[in-house]
Amino acid sequence: MTVTTAAPALALSGVSKRFDGFPALDGAHFSVREGEVHALLGENGAGKSSLMNVAAGLYLPDEGEVRVDGVVRRFSGPLEAAACRIGMVHQHYKLVRALSVAENVMLAAMAVESQSAGGDRSADKVGTTASRAALRTSYGSRLARIRALIDDHAARLGFSIDHRRAVHTLSVAEQQRVEILKALVTGARILILDEPTAVLTDEEATRLLQTMRTLAAAGAAVVLVTHRLRDVREHADRVTVMRAGRTVAECDPRATSTAELTELIVGAAAPAVTRKAAAPGVARLAIRNLTCRRHDGFEVLANLSLKVRSGEIYGVAGVGGNGQTELVEALLGIEPPVSGEVIIDGVGDIAMASPAARQSIGVAAIPADRYRLALAGTLPIADNYGVTRVASGAYGSVLWVDFRRMREEAAAGVREFDVQGVRRIEQPAGLLSGGNAQKLVIAREFASAPWLVVAHSPSRGLDVRACADVQRRLIDAREAGAAVLLVSEDLEEVLLLADRIGVMSRGRLVAEFDAPVDRQRIGEAMVDHA
């Protein structure tokens, strides 16, 4: 081996990767040293995740090389990367929901062990206790060893986690900890986290990032893929900025201003959101004493009441998991409430109406879980655009659908709403990046002037520019007289957009404020009842 102490723990250089001729990475480079937290910053679609997927062995680069401790490696799969002690925590967790924490970790550990003990193609030797002998030990003794390792790592990181619990009973933040423990127990020394703070509350995010600092201090190399400037400025030692598949800068986050970083990310200053004063009219949506129960009887929404008037944005703030998802799903008719009323101006109570019966009301819905409630990823962009308007006869009769007109209107909508990455209108919607898929949803829902908008975390996971675009659309809708209900776990977004703010906690609306409001007071309302 030719390891020298000067070599970075992980270095990627000249990495290019094309998907069907479309360059996702174009000569990108990146390196991280032991003992540092290194942020990889960029817009959605800038190539951050693709570059890290190359490092973690998920993608084979078309060009370029990956060096671990100065040695060139070619990974043909994540196990080979894991054998080189590279661990990645993906944005969407790779956990078996029915298994316990310990079993999930053991599953990963067994795979890495067999890779190192058996194949041993690219790794020379691995730091874990991997060996053929270890593979022959019994299930029970191996599980006991894994449990001890989990407890050991958890204690060191300050995680409180019960290794016997089934993964599906854990919160998102807890599942993320399981992913981190999985990486550490399998011996990861280079830890890559893809958008780790996107699904966490502010407090959880801060705690996670402090944990990463602890890991780095103990000698690990931590890569933080993110688009949140705040994470970077407060917690990273170095930052690499990517744009359009290329590495555009590497700098010290503390010596670089927010404006400079933003400019590096988007290429030009991000458009700021401007707005007129609210001119609210009649209440278009009135929710009265809405109560929803989970299958186990737990009350997820308790006597919730609120009103949204035309020409205003009503923001629902709160820590995630306090009934926001249930509120939105009740409003869209996906999960009917136990009791209460949802009164639509001029229509009446629709609390118990099915989504099909709500079609004619024309609610523009922007759900948080796009591929569960809004888009069919395998179907063409045109189909996804046209599906809600077919019923109105806009694209031919019941007997003959006019696909040509649907494609034309979809192409026009996609242009108007600036959906990027559309090479053909017939391409599957699932190939769009998160921000562009969200823009496609908005293009469809806002195709005819929206009257009532229900948006749930509409800019979550989006980059600076897409986020501003989405927020701009909500303000435009409000100024055109729509009633907008914005349910968001991002307090910044609610403060920026809402004319009135309700705070949710444990399924109740615990406080209501008129904008502008002191964030301190909202914060108090959020935690007082938590």
Binding site: P355, A376, G386, L399
Partner: protein, 354 residues
């Protein structure tokens, strides 16, 4: 260190494929399956030089054989299009044979009871067959929509219910009094599908119309457009307010109706009476046809024709080389496994890594 290695194959996910690539891979897979089948036939004793003769030349150039192929293709196309209809709404209808039986039992009941004037008899038989096939398909459909019962199990098990009911009738009240064999009395001439000349009966125009109707429904109608969403992402279809239950019900009932007509082609069209095993193997063939045709109604007709060629050649192999007809099933299975396996190449690309 390891630079001396010659390299190794690695597999990477393919992001997107073109329709042409898709078609090419499927074609190669089917050809590979046929090549493997040819090898097995040669081992079983068919002279290699006779294979092409038996399968293509004799079947398609000989008028008698071509007639047999066309006659065989009609029920296969019905059952294949029927399977495709159900698969389009993610309903795995494995009860095609049960629906074939139910349809033919209903048609036979009309014939034996002499319902209506002779002029209308055949029409009534067809209507009764479709209604019965739909009713047989309605059971697993309702069980799935109302109670969440897995249709793979319920529709499959209903085949045995239908089969035993059929045997109960044939060994009991419907036993032929003329020869005392367990099959129904022969239908009157006006109770059979009319001859169109050249030895072909009305099954062919019937199936052609049915396939065009299905192609229109799936490809051009609003319901068919909605079915794409039910197939691609049921939860999105529900959330966007599409009438999912009605769409599933429509497709499944049509599937049952088409299966019933496939049965009618055999019992009323070819055999001229209700027999014990007129349906045997058609359920599997229907699934094979829908699968190879990617649930496309018109493609299903083409695939059904090819499977009919296989059936007819299989019959002549049986006669000339004493090859059991099970060999045809084996070839069907090999082709479907090859096509299924080829999906790997559609989803992944294999590269040689040095």
């Amino acid at each position: 260190m390891r630079s001396l290695r010659r390299g190794r194959p690695v597999v990477a996910a393919r992001r997107r494929m073109s329709a042409a690539f898709d078609a090419a891979v499927t074609t190669v897979a089917i050809l590979a399956g046929l090549a493997l089948s040819a090898f097995i036939l040669v081992v079983a004793g068919v002279p290699a030089e006779e294979l092409a003769n038996e399968f293509i030349v004799n079947t398609l150039t000989d008028a008698d054989n071509l007639r047999a192929v066309l006659a065989q293709a009609a029920p296969l196309a019905f059952v294949g299009v029927g399977a495709a209809l159900a698969f389009r709404v993610r309903f795995w209808n494995l009860g095609l044979e049960g629906q074939m039986i139910a349809g033919s039992v209903a048609a036979t009941a009309i014939a034996l009871a002499d319902v209506g004037p002779p002029v209308w008899r055949l029409f009534l038989m067809l209507v009764a067959a479709m209604a019965a096939g739909m009713a047989w398909a309605l059971v697993p459909a309702l069980l799935k929509l109302r109670l969440g019962v897995n249709e793979v199990i319920s529709s499959l098990l209903l085949n045995y219910v239908a089969l035993n009911f059929l045997l109960h009738l044939l060994y009991g009240s419907w036993k032929d009094p003329v020869d005392a064999f367990p099959h129904s009395p022969a239908f009157d001439p006006f109770e059979r599908l009319p001859d169109l000349g050249w030895g072909l009966n009305a099954a062919l125009p019937l199936v052609a119309a049915a396939a065009v109707f299905a192609a229109w429904l799936l490809g051009r109608s609003r319901a068919g457009f909605y079915m794409r969403f039910v197939h691609a992402n049921p939860s999105v279809a529900l959330a966007k307010g599409l009438p999912v239950a009605a769409l599933v019900l429509t497709a499944v009932l049509l599937s049952g109706g088409y299966a019933a007509l496939a049965g009618v082609c055999l019992s009323v069209g070819q055999e001229g009476r209700l027999t014990q095993a007129f349906f045997a193997g058609y359920g599997f063939s229907g699934i094979l046809i829908a699968f190879l045709a990617r649930n496309n109604a018109l493609a299903a007709v083409v695939v059904a024709f090819l499977v009919a060629v296989l059936f007819v050649s299989g019959q002549s192999l049986q006669v000339f080389y004493q090859i059991p007809f099970a060999m045809v099933r084996l070839i069907e299975a090999i082709v479907i496994i090859s096509a299924a396996a080829s999906e790997f190449f559609l989803r992944y690309q294999v590269r040689w890594l040095r």
